[in-house]
Subunit: 319 residues, 2 copies
């Protein structure tokens, strides 16, 4: 007799696309079954190479993902794509367009594309994204690409999910790179300057190089490069895939791949524990007790820190 999660896992191992899709939906909605399935799946994960692609809106990340995917398909490698959409009524349109553009590779049986919306906390999305990648990994996809727009926290989370992180920029980003994309600059294993036939490309490259001189990559022995691309004409795709390969080999030769993954596991497990505790912490009665205290805080009878300490003590004695 097999349990439901064992049965589901078996189907994932055989890359039954419907089951893969269904489990990712369960992950997305926070269905508790998904946890049991993920536990089963875990032993078959770790084989896929995970690539993160991020950058500002309009940088051409989807087109690039498209081209890289086609390149890997020519090498007969299977590719799973997880596109992280920030939840916003304003970006919905553009991202939907990107998805449509992907229809070309979407029909390929060796490709699995999935959009996930960033609802709720950023931490929450990050966890669900990685959970979804584990499903694709267990289903046997050899390459997993996370594609996320460089908005808010999500682009920094991507570095915790990927083996190689690519930051896509365009000549137009030049000016504001320094101030705005500081977070992005620090997570890039290498840069792609897309639309590099446009005016300002060389200036942009100089700007990125200058920034890189003042910057330490989280791995001090790895020097991020800048690859020129024109994704719309498939220019630079081979160079990008070669650079991914070069970074992968670097990681393997220096025993960094496992080390980085272990670091990422640590962050991930911590997040899961903290979420479990938060769920327990903010159960109805305690949330209600907090509501009641707030009135007293407002009139100065007690202070936020005093209420917090009381709640903390109550929590400790309750479990």
């Amino acid at each position: 007799m097999h349990t439901i999660s064992e049965n589901m896992s078996e189907k994932v191992f055989n890359n039954d696309k419907k089951s893969v899709s269904r489990i990712i939906s369960k992950i997305e909605t926070g269905n508790s079954n998904s946890i049991e399935i993920l536990k089963e799946l875990h032993k078959n994960t770790g084989r896929a190479y995970r690539i993160g692609i991020t950058g500002p809106p309009g940088a051409g990340k989807s087109t690039l993902t498209n081209q890289i995917t086609k390149y890997y398909r020519q090498q007969n490698k299977t590719v799973g794509i997880i596109a992280v959409d920030p939840t916003s009524p304003f970006t919905g349109g553009a991202l939907l367009g990107d998805r449509v553009r992907m229809s070309e590779i979407g029909c390929d049986d060796g490709v699995f594309i999935r959009s996930m919306a960033t609802r709720g906390s950023f931490g929450g999305l990050s966890r669900k994204t990685i959970d979804a990648a584990d499903v694709l990994d267990a289903a046997g996809y050899e390459i997993i690409i996370f594609e996320t727009v460089g908005v808010g926290q999500s682009e920094l989370d991507i570095a915790k999910a990927a083996d190689t992180t690519i930051v896509v920029l365009i000549p137009e980003s030049g000016d504001s790179i320094q101030a705005m994309k500081a977070g992005l600059m620090e997570i890039a294993d290498f840069f792609v300057l897309n639309k590099s036939d446009r005016q300002g490309a060389d200036t942009a490259i100089t700007a990125i190089r200058t920034i890189l001189m003042f910057k330490n990559h989280s791995d001090k022995d790895w020097k991020p490069t800048i690859i020129k691309a024109i994704a719309s004409e498939n220019g630079g795709t081979k160079d990008i895939v070669d650079e991914i390969e070069r970074h992968k080999n670097y990681l393997l030769n220096n025993e960094m791949l496992q080390k980085n993954r272990q670091k990422n596991y640590k962050v991930r497990i911590k997040e899961i524990v903290e979420e479990l505790i938060k769920d327990e912490l903010w159960k109805d009665h305690r949330d209600k007790s907090l509501e009641e205290s707030i009135v007293k805080v407002t009139i100065g009878e007690t202070s936020p820190y005093q209420v917090a300490e009381t709640l903390f003590r109550e929590f400790k004695s309750s479990i």
Copy 2:
């Protein structure tokens, strides 16, 4: 006999600038004394009106803060400014420049300016920023301005700290507003289009208006307006302060000011409790036990969720 924190609080109530400064430093470094002082100070807070100013880099937020401050000073109101700097080697220069520009108002005895760097978690900064505002509030500053660059999560946090949130944009932001600043658009009580003498100003206003048509402000009865400004020439300052006043009156007349503040207290207290628990949770021995499990996760002997659940159980039985 007074305790040290009572003595310190007394000095804050008398607006002893050195003590105010010292306590904010304690808050910034996470000195545990600061908690006791904040508890003492709390009863004298809630009188200041808190304004959040955010927007992309280069939008002129500092100049605008400068002008608004001078305007309030002409009305004899005291002003405390908390400038939130994202920690990054690349932005340091620009922000330092802003600080220098502020020297004009910095010498005014009715003004207190303080920069705080966003080290570590965003949640952490948000808490420290609000703590610092409480110190200024208790010291009697009538207006408190949070100024923060629209990068990452910090701009969304600002809405949880301010009574009125202003989003500053410039004509040049026009194009990417839709996709990029989605988070910003949703927290704005009103917009300032700075540098509105530049080309593209009307297009930008149309773009913002269009977005606003599709958007619900968190308070459905409040319709955010767009104020034109040329901060470098002090153009529009009166309009901005008038609009702050109009929003304040709206909040007061609809009993929203207290309600919003209570909502913010709730978020803040929750964050403090969660941080207290995290401190307890990741004490050395548990962190070490996590490290040991990770090796087993890597070789597939156990899974992240299993390890997390074990750690959660251990935590529960240990406290």
